[in-house]
Amino acid sequence: MASASAKKIRPKYLSLPAILFQIRLPVPGWVSILHRVSGALLVIPFTAWALYMLDMSLRSEEGFQSIARYFELPLVKLGMIVFVWAYCHHFCAGIRYLFLDLDKGIELRPARITSWIVIVAGLALTAVLGALLW
């Protein structure tokens, strides 16, 4: 133990290869950074996009039809999948944080298990809603 730690080169500097290949983010860390990334995406561009679609679809019959046709475009479908994932992940991870704030699930094991649940639930919900969309 002592000899193993003595062999480590210190100090260790952050470099791009270190960030990419050597420093492994634990699962709760992934949930956290994805919560931030999905939140940022929801502010720009997805809220604007949702408002645009709501605006068009409520404006007139033609607007509603044009949004229905718009949804047929592959690029729009792809964008919607990302939108749905961002919402679902942010939603599930957010509920986890609300429980963490109440000191529920803060031990290492439950924290890791619930992190996996959040990641999988986000992807599963995206798959289900994506399938409905397609």
Binding site: V43, T47, A48, L51, L58, I95
Partner: protein, 113 residues
């Protein structure tokens, strides 16, 4: 010993506001899913009728207010973490406040046209 409290101490209020708005948006999300599932198939007439009703408009407006408030706390946290030059951070904060206010104005315009 008397503690000397410094700063604007808006931290707790913002933290709490972010949690409360989050919980309210969870409720709205489930409500909206329920409404959409109950009114299948959604045609333009059904859609427009839904959004002409107070029980849909008012919760949707409250959702938009929650979203803007919640997003502001999140955006501010992100800017404070990554944007170190004060002038640039302040500029971006102002721009995001304007953006979120614009989103809110747009939502109101859509709902009460």
């Amino acid at each position: 010993m008397k503690r000397l409290v410094v700063g604007a101490h808006y931290g707790l209020r913002d933290w709490l506001a972010q949690r409360i708005t989050a919980a309210l948006m969870v409720v709205y999300t489930l409500f909206a899913i329920g409404v959409v599932l109950k009114h299948q198939p959604i045609t333009h007439a059904v859609w427009q009728d839904l959004f002409s009703r107070g029980w849909m408009r008012v919760p949707t407006l409250l959702f938009a207010v929650c979203l803007a408030w919640h997003a502001w706390v999140g955006v501010r946290d992100i800017l404070m973490d990554y944007i170190k030059p004060d002038g640039l951070r302040l500029t971006l904060q102002v721009l995001f406040v304007l953006l979120l206010a614009a989103y809110l104005g747009w939502a109101i315009q859509i709902l009460w046209r």
